[in-house]
Symmetry: C2
Subunit: 322 residues, 2 copies
Amino acid sequence: MSLTLSEFSLIDDYIATSATSRADVCVGIGDDCAVVEVPPGKSLAVSMDTLVAGRHFIEAVDAVSLGHKALAVNLSDLAAMGAEPAWATLSLTMPEANLRWIRDFMQGFFAVADRFGVQLVGGDTTRGPLSITVQIHGFVDPRKMMRRDGANPGDLIYVTGSLGDAGLALRLQQSGKLDIVRHQQLLRRLDYPTPRVTEGMQLASIATSAIDLSDGLIGDLGHIVQQSHCGATIELQRLPCSAAVKQVIAESSEWSLPLSSGDDYELCFTIPADNQQQLQTLAATLDSPLTRIGAIEQQPGIRCVNAEGAIVDVESGYDHFK
Amino acid sequence: MSLTLSEFSLIDDYIATSATSRADVCVGIGDDCAVVEVPPGKSLAVSMDTLVAGRHFIEAVDAVSLGHKALAVNLSDLAAMGAEPAWATLSLTMPEANLRWIRDFMQGFFAVADRFGVQLVGGDTTRGPLSITVQIHGFVDPRKMMRRDGANPGDLIYVTGSLGDAGLALRLQQSGKLDIVRHQQLLRRLDYPTPRVTEGMQLASIATSAIDLSDGLIGDLGHIVQQSHCGATIELQRLPCSAAVKQVIAESSEWSLPLSSGDDYELCFTIPADNQQQLQTLAATLDSPLTRIGAIEQQPGIRCVNAEGAIVDVESGYDHFK
């Protein structure tokens, strides 16, 4: 049923109270199904993601951040398609009905939902090992949506925001070197990623392809070039990185943070070279910077070049694109 | 992303091969989102259910049956709304990539999907404790859909099919008395439930309310009377039961199998008394019988009466509706 709360009836109050209430929701939580209206002329974009304790997060993680992230990573998928967010469903599997944990989780979840105008319309709660599945629903113009298979040789490759911050935060955390005051900004990038929803919606009419960076630039751009039957060159010195990430690169002379650490949830997209002027006009209206990092080419695979244009072997441990 | 197969890339072949290919799917498995089209004039009905190993099924359960059931229980929710099935998403969390298990699971899943014209359009695969989340999507006429809050005093209560078979199979299984030859039909009712999709779509224009029987008649009808702010009387001798269930009732003089055992996935619905003739005409076209089992009344709560019209205390152990 739409929201099976029989096992945890005490938590109804926390889950059934989204601040966002949309006019296009005919039936919300509490019936066999939720019933919703897609506007005329729009297609429906849907994406589902599961986060499992011990795999995607440690069980002791802050529940507010987990609630934020569970919805944000799904919104990031919508952003990569250029879609406008609308509704979410949530399946929460928990070992016990810890009311404080649930309240915190839903607080994080609803903060993101309300910011992006998303209404929670249904789902399921079950007893079991901690795991969260969210499905997000949004509207997209089928003529403008950004697919992974639309890149063409000659297209320019861009990313939003900066790369490697979340990866650096995770690295510091895992090595016990994280200073929560000094590294506050980095940690926020890991625990409270901002899905580039506005950017995605605006870019949809310009870009030929897009993907969100959840697994790292090389891996995710790899999906674009594979599905578009082409290749790419990345200019390392163009990669947009924070001062902290730049320092690690300077000290270690290796590029894994911006190239292959995940969890940044920035967008990587391609545009025809002719659309550069249009993109610059658009960029001025957006919160996050847009940086050109390379170009799409006919030759399959992804090559990284240094400031002198020489190919750098940065990914020897990777078997995705050898 | 729409279907994250990075952790289990070997299983792509099994999951990405639905026989059903719908014209209203613009983007299926393999991009950030699936993109689909809702027909003009229709609303979208969605429902999400999670099945957790050790809670909803034993880990050793036959994977074909589990795949069947994971989709069938969701289709049952659509049926209860009167909706026409369209697309599913699937999140599969598994401790290991057991290819034989996955092949069997998807065989059961796709057999149901193909029978009801459902295309799998996306989802997620992750490593973790065994658990399955399915979201189903269907079309419904918002003027006809069957909600839980539409029953009125004077309405007649009906159920599809027969009640208690799945509960009896489970009881025999748990007590070690199940004979897989002799009890084949009962076991099929437990392991391969038939969602009453056609029935639900046909009933939508006649019924005032409906719910699917996943938790048992008293509990599920309880949702209808609570949300419709009314009550109900059930006539015990009218309950449609198989010979095997009738025998248990005769021997034990207790009615828990048809009243409170779950997993039958029949529909319980209400119609105005004036619609009886229309219902009889409709019943002649349906595969499963429709049986009148009682009536909606103003007085809250659910009462069960015997052949003489005397109230029988059948649910003393239940605190839902005391």
